[in-house]
């Protein structure tokens, strides 16, 4: 194993141990309630970056994948009372298949067409769920949490830890892709798809792979949300705010490296949690939108780009 890999897995292990210790020693539930949301956005943003950052395909349909994750869980709970692990696994499977579908459907589309197609997909799926009685229809559905498992004393703490696990999985996958031939291939097709194809990069297969992985991770992140809020309705599960939040977090962090979306998600969703509590959720979305526009205009490579520029200047001096 390379040295950087050892450091990475050591860090990941420490992170999980720290999260686990937190659930054991902190009594107050609120930090976990808020922390869960932050971790969820880390997973979503990292997943978004695999397709949107590495491959340059702007996905507006984060809410479609998230909602599909939520409703996969709802369906499993309603039909079989399946355990959480199964819910997440199946959600990932469905999300991956959806990603494959998106990839196949949008093979010939670039840029804005791809983005619009992903919004379209989100609305179509939302409408179908709205008209599906078994999972609650437009009114939504109440869900009962099963008894919590050891060593956790409340369900929210357990979901928090599960989401932390998903964070590690998502980052590990993103890191693997970034450092492998897949990542270099995606990078090539992002810069110039035709040139990449001509030099023998299997652009089609790589794009599909990125769609599948990104989709699977997004849906997996959405699955625990059903039991987190104990309620699911199409309006909130397919909220377009997920799309704009994740887009903003990834682009503000910087999409060239997996650390970018992680930074962006932690920074923005922490701010959001504070704003929601202190002011209102509208202001919250406004701040997000303004930050997104500002960064896209003034700092195209996000926080990562700013940091790198500074480092380069320091080197030169």
């Amino acid at each position: 194993m390379q040295r950087s890999s050892i450091i990475f897995w050591f860090g990941a292990g420490m992170f999980l141990i720290a999260m686990l210790l937190m659930t054991q020693f902190i009594r107050n539930e609120y930090p976990f309630f808020a922390g869960y949301v932050i971790l969820q956005f880390v997973v979503l943003s990292v997943a978004w970056t695999i397709l949107g950052g590495y491959a340059g395909y702007v996905n507006f349909g984060t809410n479609a994948f998230f909602g599909v994750g939520v409703y996969s869980a709802v369906l499993l709970i309603r039909a079989f009372e399946a355990p959480l692990g199964v819910q997440i696994a199946l959600a990932a499977l469905v999300g991956g298949l959806l990603g494959l579908g998106v990839g196949l459907l949008t093979l010939r589309m670039r840029g804005i067409f791809f983005s619009i197609a992903t919004i379209a997909l989100a609305i179509i799926i939302e409408t179908s769920i709205t008209n599906w009685r078994f999972v609650g229809g437009a009114a939504g559905i109440q869900l009962q949490r099963p008894p919590v498992m050891q060593p956790f004393d409340t369900y929210v703490k357990m979901l928090f830890f599960v989401q932390a696990l998903l964070v590690v999985i998502a980052i590990a996958i993103a890191r693997f892709i970034q450092n492998s031939r897949i990542g270099r291939g995606l990078h090539a097709l992002r810069d110039d798809e035709l040139a990449a194809e001509c030099t023998g990069v299997p652009t089609l297969r790589l794009k599909l792979l990125a769609c599948v992985v990104s989709g699977a991770l997004m849906s997996a992140a959405g699955a625990p949300a059903a039991l987190y809020v104990q309620f699911a309705n199409p309006d909130s599960a397919f909220d377009l705010n997920y799309s704009v939040s994740v887009l903003a977090m990834s682009l503000i962090g910087g999409t060239a490296h997996w650390i970018g979306p992680v930074l962006g998600a932690i920074l923005l969703s922490t701010t959001q949690q504070l704003l929601t509590v202190t002011i209102s959720s509208e202001v919250n979305v406004l701040v997000l939108g303004v930050m997104l526009v500002l960064f896209v205009v003034a700092a195209p490579k996000g926080i990562l780009g700013l940091v790198r520029r500074k480092a380069r200047k320091a080197d030169a001096a």
Binding site: G52, G56, V58, F60, L105, T106, R108, M109, G111, I112, F113, S115, I116, A117, I119, A120, L121, I123, I124, T127, S128, T130, N131, A138, D191, L240, V244, L247, A248, L251, E282, V283, V285, L286, L288, G289, V290, L292, V293, V296, V297, P300
Partner: protein
């Protein structure tokens, strides 16, 4: 139950609705279809115009159509500024800019949405005018006058714009810039200025379209999300930049929505435009009258 009368009514109302869709989409047909700007915020500007009309109607009791006309110059300027900003920050930098351009407009759309919510709240709004609420009866077919007004104005607007683009010097210049920007530059013209002007026109039309929107239906701040589907569906189905195609595509969408609404109920309506859009993109990406 399904009957031939019901189908006839649905088609008639669908054609009226379709012309209205043409009016709200024609600006996008210029900005996205001709100028290649990923104007995702177009529907947000549309809803913003509706709120402008609502405000004028509510506080000064101005007729919504007149109010639409009054805000048109403001939207023209808004369009000029938006394009200038887009051009300076994205078009000039090339390559990676496309991705960020899309994100830019998406962010702008959200900012507009939230500003409307902060100013007017999340309630649905409507306007008052003498012709709203009445209906015209032909036999057992009942057509709301508001639909007829929207239909007439929308048709007029579309024809006017189509004539402008094909007959006037500036209109031809706009189409020329869409076809061959480099060629235009060689002729000594400044493509950026022409594009900026065209974008201004595309946004100015929204003043009137916004008035029509709030005449036809209740408006709420997040209505733009559904109209992303409707406007892009019309523009893509028409074939990018085809103005006459816009009218045809909009009528197809209007009739399709109207029929689905009659047969399956309102809860399926939002998905129609998006499904049509996906279908067109998958089967015939160049649209009906594509280049």
């Amino acid at each position: 139950m399904f009957s031939i009368e019901l189908l006839r009514d649905a088609v008639v109302l669908g054609v009226l609705l379709g012309c209205f869709y043409a009016a709200v989409s024609i600006g996008l047909s210029i900005s996205f279809g001709l100028l290649d700007v990923p104007q995702v915020a177009h529907p947000a500007f549309l809803v913003l115009a509706s709120y402008g009309v609502f405000w004028l109607n509510d506080t000064y009791d101005i007729d919504p159509l007149l109010a639409g006309l009054l805000i048109t110059p403001l939207f023209f300027v808004l369009g000029l500024i938006t394009y200038r900003l887009y051009h300076e920050t994205f078009e000039r930098r090339g390559s990676d800019a496309a991705v960020r351009g899309i994100a830019f407009f998406f962010g702008v759309a959200f900012i507009i949405e939230v500003l409307i919510i902060l100013q007017f709240g999340v309630d649905q709004r409507s306007v008052t005018a003498s012709y709203i609420g009445k209906a015209w009866r032909i036999g057992d077919l009942r057509i709301p006058i508001r639909q007829l007004v929207a239909f007439a104005v929308a048709l007029g607007l579309t024809v006017l714009l189509a004539t402008y683009l094909s007959k006037t010097f500036m209109g031809r210049a706009i189409r020329a810039v869409a076809q061959d920007e480099g060629g235009l530059r060689l002729m000594g013209a400044n493509p950026v200025r022409i594009k900026q002007f065209a974008f201004g026109i595309a946004t100015a039309v929204l003043g009137m379209a916004g008035a029509l929107l709030i005449i036809v239906a209740l408006v709420d701040p997040t209505l733009d999300r559904v109209y992303i589907g409707r406007t892009f569906c019309v523009v893509v189905m028409a074939g990018l930049g085809s103005i006459s195609g816009t009218l045809i595509a909009a009528i197809i969408l209007g009739v399709a929505e109207s029929i689905v609404l009659t047969m399956f109920g309102a809860s399926w309506a939002p998905a129609i435009s998006f499904a049509l859009l996906l279908g067109v993109l998958a089967v015939r990406p160049q649209g009906l009258l594509g280049r």
